[in-house]
């Protein structure tokens, strides 16, 4: 029996007068990987940026509707608190270039001015790097700046950084589109492994990736949720014609 952790209700998102998400109703299940799938411009990045309230930082951006995390309306509390509960990994790996690997992992705490003891910090750094599969590769170099890492390693560092905040939900915005196939498969394995400890929402336009890692898929087209269901079922027997057309490559 699936547990709903995030409820998106009647969500409409705008950039000025342009509506980019139309009446989205979606439920995200706990400890599962849900993929937001669709072609460019379908609103998938906008959707997750609404979840962690990054969307509203763009000039002229606003929403209508509700997003509830475990029943709590995310738009009724301080954005900072929302972002501490919801972690995000971006398309282009973006570790902080002026910080060491160690500091990058606990950056969330440093930025918020939260004081931790050395033991606490060491523990969080090690745990997060182990969870993101990067520990063995960097444990000797924790106090170097992260710029010497490869793209895939930098991305895993960003995942560790997000995980260090112990988020309820992890949002991944096309996390492997800038990476080579080897790095991509490492991260895909990681995503499957991570769902045991954190609910994951993955944005991608890569059908193969969605098929490989996700339990559920939500297919979006031009700002609307077209279909939602178990990935295996949707990919074999799509209910909507649009979904089918996308899956076979006719559109997108």
């Amino acid at each position: 029996m699936e547990n709903v952790i995030l409820k998106i209700k009647n969500l409409n998102a705008y950039y000025g007068s342009q509506k980019v998400l139309k009446n989205v109703n979606l439920e995200i299940y706990e400890n599962r990987v849900t993929t937001i799938l669709g072609p460019s411009g379908c609103g998938k990045t906008t959707l997750i940026r609404c979840i962690n309230r990054l969307h509203e930082l763009s000039p002229g951006a606003r929403i209508e509707g509700q997003i509830l995390l475990k029943g709590e309306d995310l738009y009724q509390i301080e954005p900072m608190i929302v972002r501490q509960k919801i972690g995000m990994v971006f398309q282009k790996p973006n570790p902080f270039p002026t910080m060491t690997i160690y500091d990058n992992v606990i950056a969330g705490y440093i930025l918020s001015g939260i004081k931790l003891s050395k033991e606490e910090k060491d523990k969080i750094v090690e745990e997060s790097l182990i969870k993101s599969g990067l520990w063995d590769e960097v444990k000797e170099n924790l106090f170097k700046k992260g710029t010497f890492l490869s793209g895939g390693q930098q991305q895993r560092l960003c995942i560790a950084r997000a995980l260090a905040m112990k988020p309820e939900i992890l949002l991944l915005d096309e996390p492997t589109s800038a990476l080579d196939p080897v790095a991509t498969s490492i991260i895909e394995e990681l995503i499957i492994e991570l769902k045991k400890s954190v609910t994951t929402v993955l944005v991608t336009h890569n059908i193969g990736q969605a098929g490989r890692v996700s339990d559920y898929t939500a297919f979006f087209y031009l700002g609307e949720l077209i279909e939602f269901g178990k990935t295996t079922e949707m990919f074999t027997v799509p209910k909507s014609k649009k979904t089918e057309e996308y899956l076979i490559g006719k559109i997108g």
Binding site: E78, I81, G113, I114
Partner: protein, 280 residues
């Protein structure tokens, strides 16, 4: 992560914005203070008589600054005549020969020239021209000012030429146009707005320069049109009058400053306005 720390962080964020806003606005207040006080005290003395008559002897009240106005025009004009052609040629050189080691060195030297304090430039013009001629002269002042204007013309020429897409040059080459014609008839005209901008900003800069004139052009209470003799200029006059003990001269210093600041800031603004157009 409790309530109190969140509130404190939000408060600090607001405080930071207020601080930045406040200090930014405080920074531009001097601009208005200076313009206001200069105009308030100087504008009432500015009239046609002031502009077109000659100074009275020291200590006497009245008179005008005609010699200084003429002197400024001549000295700045000659300086521009020297700096503009040389500046354009060097600018072309820097743009056409980029990436070469020699060019890198010249670029650094142009930057160095720009950073030299203007009083040191005055010393150089003194050593090179005043000393041999054994007298102060307008031409030595012009040369000093041209050194100051030169880097500005060079840099804006180089910048504007660098913006011209290489395809235009290649198309001209392909048509068999000789190199010197490509530069003179195609590249330069394309970059003319940028070069003009650099020139205007350079002129507004040297119109206000005083230090290099202190021992080159020196000053002259009479109207002088001879480049080989000392010549008065507006900023020099302002300096001498302001630091003198005579109240009437103080008032004239403010009046002259009113004229100078209006001219200089107008040219500066106009040059900036044009610069935005071609930098886009």
């Amino acid at each position: 992560m409790n309530e109190k720390t969140i509130k404190r962080r939000i408060f600090n964020n607001k405080l930071y914005k207020i601080f930045v806003f406040l200090f930014s606005f405080l920074s531009i207040i001097p601009l208005f203070l200076i313009i206001y006080f200069v105009l308030i005290r100087g504008l009432k003395y500015v009239n046609l008589k002031f502009i077109f008559s000659m100074p009275k002897p020291m200590g006497e009240i009245g008179g005008g600054i005609f010699n200084a106005i003429v002197g400024s025009f001549i000295i700045v004009g000659v300086a521009a005549l020297i700096a503009i052609p040389i500046g354009i040629i060097v600018g072309i050189f820097l743009s056409e020969y980029k990436e070469k080691k020699y060019t890198e060195i010249v670029k650094i030297l142009v930057d160095t020239l720009q950073g030299i304090p203007s009083i040191v430039i005055g010393i150089i013009a003194y050593l090179w021209i005043v000393k041999p001629l054994k007298q102060f002269s307008a031409i030595s002042g012009s040369i000093a000012l041209s050194f100051i204007m030169l880097p500005l013309v060079i840099k804006s020429t180089e910048e504007v030429l660098n913006l011209i897409p290489i395809e235009i040059k290649e198309a001209a080459y392909a048509m068999g146009v000789p190199y010197h014609r490509i530069v003179l008839k195609i590249l330069l005209p394309s970059g003319s707005v940028g070069i003009l901008t650099g020139t205007l900003i350079g002129i507004s800069r040297i119109l206000g320069e005083t230090a290099p004139l202190l021992f080159t052009a020196f000053g002259n209470q009479f109207l002088n049109l001879n480049l080989l003799k000392p010549m008065s200029t507006i900023p020099y006059l302002i300096y001498v009058y302001a630091t003198s003990p005579y109240k009437d001269w103080h008032n004239q210093a403010f009046a002259a400053s009113t004229i100078l600041i209006i001219i200089v800031l107008s040219i500066n603004l106009f040059g900036r306005f044009m610069e935005k157009k071609w930098k886009m």
